[in-house]
C-alpha cells in the first residue's frame, strides 16, 4: 500500500475500500458516504487541488453497477490520482463535488445526463448535452447505440 493509501485508510477507516496500481496510475476507492470528504482531503491536505476530470463507467452486470471516478491533479508534485466510488443502480445518488470545485458542475450534469446518476446538493441538476425532454441515459450499456425505439433515425 502506498503512503497515500495508508493515509486515506487511517483517515477514512472502513470507508476506504482499497487501492490499485496499474500501468503507472494509482486508483483509490472510497465508500459513497466518504466521496466528497475524500476529494476535499486529497485537495486540501495533499495538494491534489485541480479536478481534471469527472466521469462514470457503467458495468451492467456488476453490483454495484456504476463506477464514479475523478482524476485529481497535483501541480507541485506533477502527479495525479484517480479517486473512485461505487454507485448502486437502485439508489443512484452521490453527494455533489460542486462544494469543493465549482467546475464539477457541468461534469456532474453530464454524468446525470448520460448515466442517470443523481448528485445531492448540486445547484442545478438538469441535462447538459441532450434536450430537457429526452428520455433515457445514452451511455448506459443497456441503451441501444442506434437510439431509442421510436427514433426516426434508426
Amino acid at each position: 500500500m502506498s503512503e497515500l493509501g495508508k493515509k486515506l485508510a487511517e483517515k477514512f477507516g472502513e470507508h476506504y475500500l482499497g487501492q490499485r496500481e496499474d500501468r503507472g496510475e494509482s486508483t483509490y476507492w472510497v465508500d459513497r458516504s466518504a466521496w466528497v470528504e475524500a476529494a476535499r482531503y486529497l485537495s486540501v491536505e495533499h495538494g491534489f487541488s485541480f479536478l481534471s476530470d469527472l466521469t462514470a463507467v457503467d458495468y451492467l452486470d456488476r453490483k454495484p453497477r456504476f463506477d464514479l471516478s475523478a482524476v485529481l491533479l497535483n501541480w507541485q508534485t506533477k502527479s495525479d490520482v484517480r479517486l473512485k466510488t461505487l454507485v448502486p443502480e437502485d439508489d443512484a445518488r452521490v453527494d455533489s463535488l460542486t462544494r469543493v470545485w465549482s467546475g464539477a458542475d457541468w461534469h456532474e450534469r453530464e454524468v446525470y445526463d448520460m448515466f442517470g446518476l443523481e448528485f445531492n446538493g448540486h445547484p442545478n441538476l438538469v441535462r447538459l448535452l441532450l434536450p430537457p425532454d429526452y428520455t433515457g441515459h445514452p451511455l448506459r450499456k443497456d441503451y441501444p447505440v442506434t437510439g431509442p425505439a421510436d427514433s426516426p433515425y434508426r
Binding site: 496499474d22 500501468r23 503507472g24 496510475e25 486508483t27 487541488s49 485541480f50 479536478l51 481534471s52 476530470d53 466521469t55 463507467v57 457503467d58 471516478s69 482524476v71 501541480w75 506533477k78 495525479d80 484517480r82 460542486t98 470545485w101 465549482s102 467546475g103 458542475d105 457541468w106 461534469h107 450534469r109 448520460m114 445547484p123 442545478n124 438538469v126 441535462r127 447538459l128 448535452l129 441532450l130 434536450p131 430537457p132 445514452p138 451511455l139 441503451y143 447505440v145
Partner: protein, 411 residues
C-alpha cells in the same frame, strides 16, 4: 420577462452561476446558436441591464453527436476516426491523445522518430488552430484584415497536412502504434519552406494588433478571470496561463519526445482578454521554435510505426512470403487487438488546454468506455464568470479570447 420563466420552460442551462437576475426591468436576450461570433453552435442567454451583462448563461449540446457511445461499438483502430471530429481545428492533437491513451493501455513502445514526427505535426496543428483563433478573434473585434491574413497562412498548413495524409482536416494520421503512413518525400522541405516565411507573418500580426489602440481598448481589462476561479472551474491551457497558472503539460507531464525540446511557457498574471491574446501569440512563437527543432531531429528514413505485429499490420511484401505475417494481417483487420483489462487516463496539451482520454478496457477488441475530457467544456462553463458586468459589445471579444470549439464541448 423574468429569466426564471425561461429557465423553467427551456431548461438546459445553469442557474447556479453568478448574478442576481430578479429585477423585472432586465432584458433577456438570446444570442446564438447561429450567431457567427459564437464560433460554432453555442447559445447564450444574456440578462441585460441596459448594455451591461448581468448574467450570461451558456447552453450547449447542439453539436452533440454521441462520440463516446459510438466508440464503444468500434474497434480501437476504427474509433480513432471519431476523435478527429471533436476539436476540428486541431485533429492531430486529438489523434495523438487517443493514440497515446491506447498505447498506454497496450504498453506499446513507439520509435523515437515517430515521436519527433508527432511533435512536429502537433505543433503545426497548434499553429493552424491559433491562426484561426487570431483571425476570427480579430474579425470579432473589427479587424477584418487579420482574418484574411491568418486564414491564408492556415491554408498553407492545411496544404501540408493534405500532402502528408491526403486530407486537409480530418487527418486520422497519427494512429495507434505510430503513423498511418510514412511522411512523403519532400514533406520536410515543404515544412521548412513554410516555416521560413512564418516569422515575418507573425511579426506583421504583432504590428497590426499588439500596440493597436483599438485592439487594446477592446481587450484590456475585458473578461477578467482570477487565478482561483481558473482553478475552481478547471481551466487549462492558455486561459489558465493568462491567469497566472504556470502549467503546461508538454513541460510538466511530458509525453512523446517533448523533454528533448527547448521552449518557454508564457505566463501572465492579468487574466483579461489581452493577456490571453499575448499568451497565445507567444505560444505561436514557441511552437515555431519547436517545429524548427523537430526538423533537425527527424531523420529522412526510419520506422514510421512500431514493429509490434500485434498492433500494426506487417508490410505488404512480407505477407506474400511469410505465413505468420499473413495471420497477423488477418487478425488485425478482422478482429483488431485487445488490451488487457484496466483503465488509463492520458492527458496532452491541445491548443486549447488539457485534453484527456480516459479509456477503459474490458479485455475485448473495443473500448469498454471512452471518455474525453475536453478543455473547451471547462472553458465554456466558466463563461458566466467572464461575462459578468461586461458590456454587450464586449461579449463577442470575450468569447473569441477564450477560444473554444463547440465540437469539442459537445462531442
Amino acid at each position: 420577462m423574468n429569466v426564471d420563466e425561461i429557465t423553467s420552460e427551456q431548461g438546459g442551462f445553469s442557474t447556479a452561476a453568478l448574478g442576481d437576475t430578479s429585477d423585472p426591468s432586465y432584458t433577456v436576450m438570446n444570442m446564438g446558436p447561429q450567431h457567427p461570433s459564437t464560433h460554432g453552435v453555442l447559445r447564450l442567454v444574456l440578462t441585460l441591464d441596459g448594455e451591461r451583462v448581468v448574467r450570461g448563461e451558456p447552453d450547449v449540446g447542439f453539436l452533440h453527436t454521441g462520440i463516446e457511445k459510438q466508440a464503444e461499438v468500434k474497434t480501437y483502430q476504427q474509433a480513432l476516426t471519431l476523435t478527429d471530429r471533436m476539436d476540428y481545428l486541431s485533429p492531430l492533437n486529438n489523434n495523438l491523445g487517443y493514440a497515446l491513451a491506447v498505447e498506454k493501455l497496450l504498453g506499446a513502445e513507439i520509435p523515437e522518430r515517430v515521436s519527433h514526427i508527432r511533435v512536429l505535426l502537433c505543433e503545426l496543428s497548434r499553429l493552424a488552430s491559433h491562426l484561426v483563433w487570431l483571425g476570427t478573434g480579430g474579425l470579432d473585434a473589427g479587424a477584418m484584415s487579420m482574418f484574411l491574413y491568418c486564414f491564408q497562412e492556415r491554408e498553407k498548413i492545411l496544404d501540408l497536412f493534405e500532402m502528408m495524409s491526403g486530407v486537409r482536416m480530418m487527418t486520422s494520421y497519427i494512429t495507434v502504434g505510430g503513423l498511418m503512413a510514412d511522411i512523403p518525400e519532400g514533406f520536410l522541405d515543404q515544412v521548412k519552406r513554410y516555416l521560413d516565411g512564418f516569422p515575418k507573418e507573425l511579426e506583421m500580426y504583432h504590428g497590426l494588433l499588439t500596440g493597436n489602440s483599438i485592439w487594446l481598448e477592446r481587450t484590456k481589462g475585458i473578461g477578467h478571470l482570477t487565478r482561483q476561479a481558473a482553478i475552481d472551474y478547471g481551466c487549462t491551457g492558455a486561459v489558465a496561463r493568462a491567469s497566472g497558472i504556470d502549467w503546461d503539460i508538454r513541460r510538466d507531464m511530458p509525453y512523446c519526445s517533448y523533454p528533448d525540446y527547448e521552449f518557454k511557457v508564457p505566463v501572465l498574471q492579468e487574466g483579461d482578454s489581452y493577456a490571453r491574446y499575448l499568451v497565445r501569440r507567444e505560444e505561436m512563437e514557441q511552437s515555431y521554435r519547436i517545429c524548427r527543432q523537430a526538423l533537425e531531429k527527424i531523420t529522412a528514413a526510419g520506422p514510421y510505426r512500431t514493429s509490434n505485429r500485434k498492433i500494426v499490420p506487417p508490410p505488404k511484401w512480407e505477407i506474400s512470403v511469410s505465413m505468420e505475417a499473413l495471420i497477423h494481417h488477418f487478425k488485425l483487420f478482422t478482429e483488431g487487438f485487445s488490451p488487457r483489462p484496466g483503465e488509463v487516463y492520458q492527458r496532452i496539451e491541445s491548443p486549447r488546454g488539457e485534453l484527456g482520454f480516459h479509456m477503459v478496457s474490458d479485455g475485448s477488441n473495443k473500448p469498454y468506455r471512452m471518455r474525453v475530457r475536453t478543455p473547451s467544456l471547462s472553458h465554456v462553463q466558466v463563461l458566466p464568470v467572464l461575462l459578468k458586468d461586461c458590456l454587450l459589445a464586449d461579449v463577442v471579444v470575450v468569447l473569441a479570447s477564450v477560444d473554444f470549439v463547440l465540437g469539442d464541448v459537445d462531442r
